[in-house]
């Protein structure tokens, strides 16, 4: 009996010591459009009853300030925030090297309400491909998070790269930890992001 109790206690202890991110939860994102500079990006994951020690399970979430576009006109290519609706994820990179760089999440295309196609949309911030900061001028540098005006974008969702840990890191690490999905490159995740008005 003592042996069984010891084994049970040991199993329980080991279970409790395993970090939560060892579980793979169904995880998705929501973007609530409030303003171009200050909207809300929310990551939500469902913890089923098996993970919470019984019960029906529960939803957990974490939110960050995020921006999108310069205008509220979702039909304005390179200028308006992204259209409402649900988006598939088309890829994720840690060291993307382009006009957008570093940790990026690539979204599907989406038509707005007059039929204009919005394309090349990402969730990202302002950092280098090596996930660093490059701030060579006193002005607005594309791989440098200078401040709140950097929440503006051509349409993409942007989160802050300031502080430690930055919101970008929390989004990135949170995604891998909660979803248990550590893939990089092109792949598809259905219904990854929903954009709605707040």
């Amino acid at each position: 009996m003592k042996v069984r109790a010891s084994i049970a206690a040991a199993v329980l202890a080991v279970t409790l010591l395993i970090p939560a991110n060892a579980f793979a939860y169904v995880t998705w994102l929501g973007f609530t459009r409030q303003s171009n500079l200050a909207s809300t990006l929310t990551m939500t994951w469902f913890v089923p009853n098996g993970s919470s020690g019984g019960g029906p399970g529960y939803y957990a979430s974490q939110s960050w300030r995020a921006g999108s576009g310069v205008s509220r006109d979702a039909c304005w290519i390179g200028h308006g925030w992204l259209p409402v609706g649900t988006y598939d994820l088309w890829g994720h990179w840690d060291n993307y090297n382009g006009v957008i760089a570093g940790r990026v999440f690539y979204l599907q295309n989406k038509p707005c309400w007059n039929g204009t196609w919005r394309t090349e949309l990402f969730v990202h911030s302002e950092e280098t491909a090596a996930q660093g900061q490059y701030c060579p001028t006193a002005g607005d540098d594309p791989y440098c998070w200078e401040g709140p005006s950097d929440y503006y974008s051509n349409g993409c969702i942007k989160v802050s790269r300031a502080g430690f840990p930055s919101d970008l890191r929390l989004v990135h690490d949170g995604w891998h930890a909660r979803s248990g999905d550590h893939r990089h490159g092109y792949f598809t995740i259905d219904d990854w992001l929903t954009v709605r008005d707040g």
């Binding site: 310069v70 304005w76 290519i77 200028h79 006009v99 599907q108 196609w117 090349e120 594309p142 219904d191």
Partner: protein, 399 residues
Amino acid sequence: MNQILGSGWRKGLTLALLAAATSAIALTIWGVLGAHSAAPRTGPLSVRAGLEQTPGPMVRGDGLFTGKAGSKHQLGAAVSGAMIGPLSPVAVGSPDGRLVAYNTWQEQRPVDSERSFSKQSIGPGDVLGTPSLRVQDDTGKDSLIERGAYSAAWRQDGAIAFVKGTDPDFRAARSYDGQIVVRAGVRGRDVVWTKDAAHYVVYAWAGSRLLFYRVGLGEKLELLVADAPGSIRSLADGSAIALSPDGTRVAVLGQDATSARVLDVATGGELAWLDVTTATPSVAWLGYSGSWVGDHIVAPASPGLAVLSVGSRSLELEQVLSLDHAQFPVGVQEPRFVDTDGNEIAASADVPPTNGSPAVSFLLVCDRIARSCGHGEPAPAKQWQRLVAVTPATSEGGQ
């Protein structure tokens, strides 16, 4: 009787002189006040229904509307700027006024904009639709310019520039790459002007030079200029607010939409610069695809419209006209001066869908001196109600 008549005549003369003096004083006061009120002032625009006639030819759905009565001419396909948005005119007239080139979109499968592709069983590479360019002449003859093409600009000699897709079809999870081609007339030979295929959009001719965009990751816009086939250079990171009437200068907008510059098209040199957030009056941002007449530029702006004054080496924000955002929540696109004095402005104002009501589009025509606008009947936004862009018959024109 004579005395009565004489007395009456004197009284009449006195009254006439008095009336003349009063009129002169009134005219003087009117003139002074009139001159004062003619100065453009910053402030709200009052917008009323009842626009009786459009200030030029207009397209909507499968119709081209011309003349004072707005007579409808049937187009070969419905107009659509699905691939260009406001980056380039959806319909543009030729320099001789005989032809109208217009963008269309053939949907190959219905797409619900609210739902994800995966929920609609749309996979990477699936065909979503096909853009095409068509042309209609003044006899009503309508024909295809090119399938798998979009964004047209007429050159003075009648040549037409456009983007020709590498693959005619727009596909899910694929960038719509193409080449800029210039065709010598509607039925002429194509010459490829770009070296590499990319996601391009044609903006306008600046004399013999062609201005066009490269759309990059995150919809980053880069304005390029082609001096000749294969001779391409970058003009600006950003977008074009307007091209000067003589085509020698272009006003460009920075990536963050808060700074405007005037560039020499031939050299790329900067002639003037303005931070619109610190100007007086100021705005939070400007938008691209405006219009330039004389020494004035009109552009979309955060409150509604902004009018800039351009000198040879200066750029100033002269007037800000604000729209009621409850009436027009997303402002206007593609404002254009429709008179030679730069006082009348036409623009498209879309109202996004609300509570199940589909999005609609209004044509506004505004007097910037009186700060009043009239709007026409609302049209479904998917019908792309827009004025036909005019290509001037000489190099004097601007866009």
